[in-house]
Symmetry: C2
Subunit: 129 residues, 2 copies
DNA sequence: GTAAAGTCTATACCAAGTATAGGGTCAACA
DNA sequence: TGTTGACCCTATACTTGGTATAGACTTTAC
């Protein structure tokens, strides 16, 4: 199949697929006579794996490490488990930060609920502090 | 004061101050004979305002809009209130996304708690799906 | 006088794509 | 046969909010 079909089947845009290839995340495939990229079912599987990882917010570098690990089936998988664990810690931390931000924004919002003039705006006054 | 002192007092790096100036977020200031930037107390206030806004994750464009609004003290402040409100909605939404991601990561982590071989790794198996 | 610290501009880099320009390929249709 | 339209190609620039560097100039301290 050509890149347009792979794009539709995978849900990745055409540019993204080419981008992954350039980043050495996605193996360069065969080309047709007219220099079109030609993919098969294994390309689709590989791309779905990448997409799954990206949906977990793994970086491209981390995905490369995962792919590298996958190529050593007899090694220990602890690096994989550590990666996921560390991501959970990071996400938890980020959620806490955002919860705090939400509180601040909420306080801010309640400083000026009605429609005033700019010079009397409670929000702007808080921002000046 | 020169940029180094402003940097220390504001907590913004020297590069960041120059970056804000280039983005027209922070007014270009007077220069000394040797072409050094010379700031005063009002520069510090302005910079702190920007920093406060950035700590709320407002974008540079949004901060520009706020600054523009501040220059019209007799206009309505509703755009300010809307901005803060919309940010709260966005942050709430982002938190929900991250909570879901955390759940997924948690499920994933529990698929392989012990130290196995790569080919038996529960995490990698889940990622293949 | 000189060395160190501070400042200047311009430029490149980061992540993970997205968008565009300018061109080539391929199939169908008149 | 010519041409239209859909699809594909590469290369490059752009996004965000800074950070980092090179190479040069200014100021300060001794």
């Amino acid at each position: 199949m050509k890149i347009g079909e792979l794009s539709k089947k995978s849900g990745c845009s055409i540019q993204t697929i080419r981008f992954y290839e350039k980043q050495d995340l996605f193996e360069a495939c065969n080309r047709s006579e007219g220099n079109y990229r030609i993919y098969d079912a294994s390309s689709l599987r590989a791309l779905r794996f990448i997409k799954q990882c990206r949906s977990l917010d793994l970086t491209i570098i981390e995905i490369k490490q995962l792919l590298d690990t996958k190529n050593n089936p007899d090694k220990s998988c602890s690096s994989v488990n550590n990666l996921i664990h560390q991501h959970m810690v990071d996400v938890t931390h980020r959620i806490a930060e955002l919860e705090e931000l939400k509180l601040t924004l909420s306080d801010m919002a309640s400083a000026c609920t009605d429609d005033r003039k700019v010079k009397e705006c409670g929000v702007l006054q808080l921002l000046e502090e």
